[in-house]
Symmetry: C2
Subunit: 182 residues, 2 copies
């Protein structure tokens, strides 16, 4: 991801947060995380995040998902004998389509990323509109895509250890690589 693309995504995420009435500190606003999962196709597979707090017991984040953007399939395994991350997604604005393990929905609302279809394997669809929420058990494969207006989702969870996430697509790297940074 180019530094200019990162900056543009941060600004777009800030506009979506602001229009939903979310107030951030200057420091938070200048550190919006933009994850392209090392795939360098942010518009298709990517996610924007603000982490409010992440202690050894709980975590709270805002997730910003641009229209049609997909967070790739992954799970949160046990780490060092601690159960994997349990997380609750609460939709605040827009609409998000969440896919978890279980009976496949057919057809699904989401459009699978063309070049990565093989890396999406769970299709039990949960549609979340503003005010609706869903809790994902630990170590459960899931992925999600925003509807045509994009989505703002609050995530409440146990401790977050992004570096331990297991993605179905083996090419994925959780840490974004930023090119041409000055």
């Amino acid at each position: 991801m180019k530094a200019s693309e990162l900056k543009a995504a941060q600004q777009r995420a800030l506009r979506m947060l602001s229009s939903a009435g979310v107030v951030l500190t200057e420091d938070e606003a200048s550190h919006v995380e933009v994850a392209d999962f090392g795939l360098d196709r942010l518009a298709v597979e990517g996610l924007e995040l603000v982490t409010y707090v992440n202690t050894d017991r709980y975590c709270a984040k805002e997730l910003v998902i641009f229209p049609g953007q997909t967070c790739p399939e992954h799970r949160h395994p046990s780490v060092d004998g601690h159960p994997g991350k349990q997380e609750t997604f609460r939709c605040r604005r827009g609409e998000v389509w969440l896919y978890v393990e279980g009976e496949s929905t057919s057809p699904i609302r989401a459009e699978l990323p063309e070049t990565a279809k093989a890396h999406y394997t769970v299709f039990n669809e949960v549609v979340l509109k503003p005010g609706e929420q869903y809790t994902i058990p630990p170590d459960t494969r899931h992925w999600f895509q925003a509807g045509p207006q994009g989505a703002l989702v609050s995530e409440f969870s146990s401790r977050s250890r992004d570096e331990s996430d297991v993605f179905t697509n083996p090419r994925i790297r959780r840490q974004s690589v930023i090119e041409d940074q000055t």
Copy 2:
């Protein structure tokens, strides 16, 4: 607390949540918790809450505090060998004055509830404006009061066990008693 007072407080809390852009389900809106701590002087000592999720690992709530309203001093002790609740207060709207253990601030912004002054014993003042947050360690005495515009505060925490809270005022009962319910 009379049922009519409960209903009025619920409606007022819903208006504050709505004006901050918080979207609730119908079920959540009809179950806003109004805590008068068994003291029956809600305007002085009370709190309004919506609990989004409370698992054995984490909890997320919205707290609505009316102008000048005070949540009485309490702490979250260890329960059954589990460390007490750790919680992060993030101010969303208005201003909240939080008091925790430590060096006393003098003078403090809050006005102590006249009939309960003896039950407020910690005065290290933390002022939270929108976007600002503070994390309270387990088993630490704390209390808070909203400024003149009231406040909306998101609480992120480990598991919530309200029934185990220890209040400095021994008269306090965490469960509200509603009179003249039909």
